[in-house]
């Protein structure tokens, strides 16, 4: 069984559209994260949730909104997509904040 899964794996869309990426973990972890990895492979944390509560909200545009229906799921909704949003988005989970993080396979978002 996949520990951290994301859907879709690839997402190609036009500027101005709204899209969502879903993430699920079956590890029983309390904390989940969204990261953005740019073309230079730099990994930047965007959000963190602990037991459905928002813990970390880095300087991310308001167009990005995370939603955690339960502690096993953390979805990312992006409004009014821009060219600069093109990147690979990774979901991750851990038991606590500073513990080992388990990463999903990533979602490559391309905005045309």
């Amino acid at each position: 069984d996949t520990a951290v899964s994301q859907t879709p794996k690839y997402l190609v869309t036009q500027m101005g559209n709204d899209k969502s990426i879903k993430c699920e973990q079956n590890l029983g972890h309390d904390t989940m994260y969204w990261y953005k990895q740019d073309s230079k492979k730099f990994l930047k944390i965007m959000f963190s949730y602990n037991n459905k509560e928002l813990i970390i909200n880095e300087t991310v545009p308001n167009r990005f909104s995370p939603k955690s229906p339960d502690k096993a799921h953390l979805n990312l909704h992006i409004n009014s997509l821009e060219l600069g949003d093109s990147a690979v988005y990774f979901c991750a989970s851990s038991q606590v904040g500073a513990d080992t993080q388990y990463f999903g396979p990533g979602t490559r978002l391309t905005v045309l």
């Binding site: 904040g97 500073a98 993080q101 990463f103 999903g104 990533g106």
Partner: protein
């Protein structure tokens, strides 16, 4: 401020040669230290981690790392690399009670046949 530095953006070694990837950190507390590997098109996978105890840590795929508090370093080593080790390597640091870990910018490892 807490930070992680990986001084080498790219490293190229020949297959069969030894490898050392550098990682330096700046952290106020006793750190938790991690090395992750990202193969092309894949997510990050944990290679090894240090929380406490023996400062020489063994990981998967034949990797090891040594925590040197005096040098604020956690360098990753492998005695003989394989072509399949070509990947991006990330060092990360956190501490007990933190709500996240901080990743370095990564080192891309290239392997020459």
């Amino acid at each position: 401020a807490q930070s992680v530095t990986q001084p080498d953006i790219h490293i190229t070694v020949s297959e069969g040669a030894s490898l050392e990837l550098r990682c330096n950190y700046s952290y106020g507390a006793t750190p938790y230290l991690f090395w992750y590997v990202q193969s092309p098109g894949q997510g990050l996978q944990l290679l090894l981690k240090y929380f406490s105890g023996d400062t020489l840590v063994q990981g998967i795929k034949g990797f090891e790392a040594e925590f040197k508090r005096s040098q604020s370093s956690f360098n990753l080593r492998k005695p003989s690399v394989h072509w399949s080790d070509a990947a991006e390597y990330f060092c990360a640091v956190g501490a007990q009670g933190d709500d996240k870990i901080i990743f370095g910018k990564g080192t891309r490892l290239h392997i020459l046949p």
